[in-house]
């Protein structure tokens, strides 16, 4: 069963992402969520999610660090990471690339776009 991990410290955004992706549940997709980077990292290691929607601005461990650890240090390859952050920060884009993110999406996001991206990655 495909797994999608949703990481954001704002519960509203977590629920919003979940609702955006909701119809994938009918196709057997399982949703997991985390409210900070440390927990997210544990889940990625233990649960092996296929897709991660990862917020950048989070306390304790930010999205860049999570991404960097997963892709460059732990060298986990079979996870698709989508970094989510606020619009228009050029520096962030470069940082995201350096951290090894697969895609970079901006907030505010379009829920249909989120769903389309997830479908493409999972081939559903």
């Amino acid at each position: 069963m495909p797994k999608i991990l949703i990481v954001d410290d704002d519960p509203n955004i977590r629920l919003l992402l979940k609702q955006s992706l909701e119809e994938l549940e009918d196709q057997g997709v399982i949703f997991i969520s985390a409210d900070n980077g440390e927990v997210a990292l544990d889940i990625i290691r233990d649960e092996n999610p296929d897709v991660v929607f990862l917020d950048v601005m989070m306390p304790r461990m930010n999205g860049f660090d999570v991404c960097n650890t997963v892709k460059n240090k732990l060298e986990i390859r079979d996870v698709f990471i989508i970094l989510l952050t606020v619009k228009g920060q050029k520096l962030d884009k470069q940082k995201g690339k350096d951290a090894g993110a697969d895609i970079y999406m901006t907030k505010p996001f379009n829920p249909d776009e989120i769903l389309r991206v997830a479908r493409n990655i999972l081939g559903l």
Partner: protein, 389 residues
């Protein structure tokens, strides 16, 4: 070139103004020292030809007066035969040179031109000196401005991030809900659970909109207060009521977080004159900080009067504040760290706004805190006598 000719001899005045006029100077004449000084007040001259011997105010006196008014003005003394001693005195007093009567025009022209040139050079040197000083001051001001600009840019970045966070929810939930509604209507689904979810989404949209409006209000309010355009109400504030109202808002949040919340009042609280709405914002701000930065333990809000001051103290057992930040937290734009890790809550203008409000009321707001041991915020306000509620 404006030249002033001062001479009591009409013939001399006539000849000089004719000849100098022909040579391209613009000439004004005065028949005594007093008139010369008067003319000096209204007109800027490039040089003065000044007769030494005049009835009434003589050349030396006139020279002193003119130099007082414009120390840089080149004055050429016109002296009679045998007046050398006085002419030398004039030079000592700052006259540029002297020419003897009867004035030789060619000599006067040369002296005038040199005098004007020298005065212009001196002016330039003076201005240069000034501009060196100015450029150092300008450099420092520029440096300061650059620093401020940097702080402002960082602040705006973090503000725009904070403003976009609720906006992401608002737009997102509206989109998701619209999509769901369209789908359910097409499928003719009339499920109360699903409709309930739409209600929750709308609730989120409303709450996040209010949050966003609050942030915008904070920014505008701070700007208005700083620009002096804010409107202030001035009434007797029922302190106890305002604090109780604020406490009632935070009581459930404290309960939910498992924090003990104690509110204490001294028996008879005096009245404070001021803006009730803004004062209540201060109380809510410090209570909100206490609850936000405390995960366990307790928050105590106590109000008492000491002599002619009212003290509102909110102490918590939260994470505390590093001593290096005790003053900075009341400065606007201070809520800036690495925006990636130390995520600021809100736009970070709460305490700076509180400080402006309290200071407008003639009071002060201070903090005592140690990291890991909690914080104590104290608002001190002067009591207005004879106005007890």
């Amino acid at each position: 070139m404006n030249v002033l000719v001062v001479d009591d001899d009409e013939m001399v005045r006539y000849v000089l103004s004719e000849k100098l006029g022909e040579a391209g100077f613009s000439v004004t004449t005065a028949h005594n020292g007093l008139l010369a000084v008067e003319l000096f007040h209204d007109t800027v001259f490039d040089a003065v030809l000044l007769d030494l011997k005049m009835p009434g105010m003589d050349g030396i006196e006139t020279l002193k007066e003119l130099s007082k008014h414009d120390p840089g003005i080149p004055v050429i003394m016109v002296t009679g035969f045998g007046d050398i001693a006085t002419a030398v005195e004039a030079i000592k007093l700052g006259a540029y040179d002297f020419v003897e009567k009867p004035p030789q025009l060619s000599r006067i022209m040369v002296t005038l031109r040199r005098a004007i040139e020298k005065a212009a050079l001196e002016r330039e040197v003076r201005d240069l000196g000034k501009s060196v000083e100015e450029s150092i001051a300008l450099k420092q001001a520029y440096q300061k401005l650059r620093e401020l600009d940097q702080v402002k840019t960082t602040f705006l970045t973090s503000v725009s991030h904070e403003l976009r966070t609720p906006l992401t929810s608002i737009i997102g939930y509206a989109e998701v809900s619209r999509k769901k509604l369209k789908k359910w209507m097409a499928e003719d689904i009339n499920n109360s659970d699903k409709i309930g979810q739409l209600g929750e989404n709308l609730e989120t949209i409303i709450l996040e909109s209010e949050k966003l409006a609050g942030m915008i209000e904070s920014i505008l309010d701070l700007t208005a207060m700083e620009a002096g355009t804010a409107e202030w109400k001035w009434d007797a504030i029922p302190i106890k009521e305002v604090i109780e109202d604020a406490a009632a808002i935070f009581s459930p949040i404290m309960k939910e977080k498992g924090i003990e919340f104690v509110v204490v009042f001294e028996n008879d609280l005096p009245s404070i004159m001021g803006d009730r709405y803004r004062f209540s914002k201060v109380v809510k701000q410090i209570l909100s900080n206490a609850v936000n930065f405390t995960d366990q333990g307790r928050v105590v809000c106590s109000t008492k009067r000491v002599n002619n001051d009212l003290f509102l103290t909110v102490s918590d057992t939260g994470i505390g504040i590093d001593p290096s930040r005790h003053l900075v937290i009341f400065e606007k734009f201070s809520q800036i760290g690495d925006a990636l890790t130390e995520k600021p809550k809100g736009v970070g203008l709460g305490l700076p706004i509180s400080r402006l409000i309290v200071e407008y009321h003639g009071g002060s707001i201070t903090v005592e805190s140690e990291p890991g041991k909690g914080s104590v915020f104290t608002v001190m306000l002067p009591v207005v006598e004879g106005n007890n509620i």
